[in-house]
């Protein structure tokens, strides 16, 4: 089962601070959407409102076309994977995974069968009799995922589910999460502050800042042609050249944005520049360049592995992709 979600003009304030400010968002059934933003941007508040743990001050939320106003978490077609897993320590893995089914009155044997099936989906076959404390962090997260999916929710909410894992494990779990979402077809709404994670798994990324949505789109679009300066900066490193100063490679007003890896042999001509320093980064060489036209500006340029220019070397600056955004 899967359902779309429609958030319409939702505002939520905590005291004088607006955690969400007139947010509207439509999520299609079966879509994998990632809410991305720094801490305090409102992404978790939005997730809580979807899950029924908080009510909007104004605006409404529809899930599968049904208005969710006044519907508690218990009665919503959503389940949540929490950042701290929130497994039941006194229950076995099978009991944990079967808990939601038990609440829905599913009989013991059917529950056990479903729990075993879900545990195998997340790669924990045959461990149903274990207790949560016997597992590693990554395994606990898998159990939490299995538990939330066992009741076949229409929408699965994931609250920074990989936040407590180390980097390597996180990257591995991302791929798995994506694969599982493809298999079950449930709508996933995933909250994170890690833009690499977002790009790895999302069908669509929703960039949030200060209670508002800054940008929405597929990873490629949000990364390559962001709609706002914030979104451009949050998705990855970017050179921002103000078009209000003396140096205007393109007509203003606004800010010229170029990703470090967008420099190449052709495209927008920025004139020559001088390398101030260079460092080997494995996949690329990271170079700081002072353009001749504006020596006080420092541009970050990624060059291919083989290149290792000396400081002071001259370099031609051409940008294959670039954009002008309003400050």
């Amino acid at each position: 089962m899967t359902a779309g979600v429609s958030v319409q003009g939702v505002t939520r304030a905590y005291g004088p601070a607006r955690a969400l400010d007139d947010v509207s968002l439509d999520i299609a059934a079966g879509e994998f959407v990632v809410l991305l933003g720094p801490s305090g941007c409102g992404k978790t508040t939005l997730l809580n409102i979807l899950g029924g743990f908080a009510e909007p001050d104004s605006g409404r939320v529809l899930i599968g076309g049904r208005d969710m106003a006044g519907v508690g978490p218990k009665d919503r077609p959503t389940t949540t994977v929490f950042q701290d897993y929130a497994l039941f320590p006194h229950m076995t893995l099978a009991e944990n995974v079967g808990f939601g089914l038990r609440m829905r009155g599913v009989a013991g044997p059917a529950r056990a069968a479903r729990a075993a099936e879900m545990l195998s989906l997340v790669g924990l076959d045959g461990r149903g009799a274990r207790k949560p404390h016997e597992l590693s962090g990554g395994q606990r997260q898998r159990v939490a995922l299995a538990r939330a999916l066992a009741v076949e929710p229409e929408v699965l909410l994931l609250d920074e589910p990989l936040g407590a894992l180390d980097l390597k494990l996180r990257r591995a779990m991302q791929d798995e999460l994506k694969a599982i979402q493809r298999r079950v077809g449930t709508t996933f709404v995933h909250v994170t502050h890690d833009q690499e994670e977002a790009m790895a798994i999302a069908d669509r990324i929703v960039v949030m800042n200060a209670g508002r949505i800054e940008d929405v789109g597929p990873p490629r679009q949000v990364y390559l042609s962001p709609k706002s300066l914030f979104s451009a900066g949050f998705m990855g490193e970017i050179n921002k050249i103000s078009l209000d100063g003396t140096w205007r490679p393109v007509p203003g007003p606004g800010v010229l944005c170029i990703r470090p890896e967008a420099f190449g042999d052709q495209g927008l001509d920025l004139g020559a520049g001088r390398v101030t320093d260079a460092a080997f980064f494995g996949a690329h060489v990271r170079v700081h360049v002072a353009p001749d036209a504006a020596p006080e500006v420092r541009l970050v340029v990624h060059l291919p592995q083989g290149a290792m220019p000396e400081p002071g070397a001259a370099i031609t600056l051409r940008a294959t992709t670039w954009g002008v955004l309003q400050a």
């Binding site: 899950g51 978490p73 218990k74 389940t79 701290d84 497994l87 808990f99 009741v151």
Partner: protein, 282 residues
């Protein structure tokens, strides 16, 4: 002592070090007095109980020195005494039921106050714990006048009510202290998975708090078991064990009272050890 690369001793020496610094005999003297002090302190605490237990085995008519031989006859007499055994059963009943009620009320109150943000919740907590500071004599007097005005007849039930009054704050405090974020997160997850409030409490909160709940229960049982003042003022015909012992004492000392006292002490020890065992396992 006094190697070159030793860290210089701090100017404030512990008494131990100061005595040891004076020489081996002074050091020995210090250690000896420390142990002596410890022994004296424990003797002061436990001597009355030891005397009570020792003379419960007295093969004579008075529980005083000299010891005239060892006998279990007073235990036999006590266990055959119908009034005493009835009082024992009453005590067990009052302790069990009043502790269970205190625990349930305390747990629910703690759960509610730990979970929700209420205006003045600090005051609500303070008010719940306040009866701990009131003497049980005052509580008993208050309940006595209340029961008499409302025409409730004194019975084991009224004692039980009194014991709930003194044990509820204790149970509340223990449960409240045991509730943490871990708990909250698990309850939230249970709700998210479709559990109603009673099922959240029964299937998640209570099992997760089991060690604290057991500790609170056993501690309440211990307090109720040997509580005298409330039991004395709020009973009439059916009395609890401490009240029965008190009336035995009025007819003079006998090794029989020692034997009953030893039995009461034994039950308390079991309850305390049980509490500690459960707490350690958690």
């Amino acid at each position: 002592m006094g190697g070159k690369d030793r860290v210089p001793p701090s100017p404030i020496l512990s008494p131990w070090r100061r005595w040891e610094a004076l020489g081996p005999i002074a050091g020995l003297f210090w250690r000896g007095s420390v142990w002596l002090y410890l022994a004296a302190a424990y003797a002061f605490i436990f001597l009355p109980v030891v005397v009570l237990v020792v003379f419960s085995f007295q093969d004579g008519r008075l529980p005083v020195p000299p010891m005239q031989g060892v006998s279990l006859k007073w235990y036999a007499k006590v266990l055959a005494d119908r009034d005493l055994m009835a009082a024992l059963a009453h005590s067990a009943l009052v302790a069990g039921v009043s502790s269970a009620v205190s625990l349930m009320l305390g747990f629910l109150a703690a759960h509610g106050l730990a979970r929700s943000v209420l205006p003045g919740s600090v005051w609500l907590r303070g008010l719940l714990i306040a009866p701990m500071t009131v003497s049980s004599l005052i509580i008993a007097l208050g309940l006595l006048s209340l029961f008499q005005q409302t025409g409730v007849r004194l019975s084991l039930l009224t004692v039980g009510v009194g014991h709930v009054v003194i044990n509820l704050p204790l149970c509340f405090a223990i449960c409240y202290a045991a509730m943490g974020d871990h708990q909250k997160a698990a309850e939230r997850a249970a709700r998210d998975l479709g559990a109603s409030e009673p099922r959240v409490l029964w299937l998640v909160s209570a099992p997760m708090l089991a060690p604290a709940l057991a500790a609170a229960f056993f501690l309440s049982v211990t307090f109720s078991w040997d509580e005298f003042i409330i039991a004395f003022l709020l009973t009439r015909f059916d009395v609890t064990l401490p009240v029965e012992i008190w009336s035995m004492l009025r007819s003079g000392l006998s090794p029989a009272t020692n034997a009953v006292g030893s039995l009461v002490f034994l039950v308390s020890v079991v309850a305390v050890v049980g509490t500690e065992a459960v707490r350690r396992r958690a």
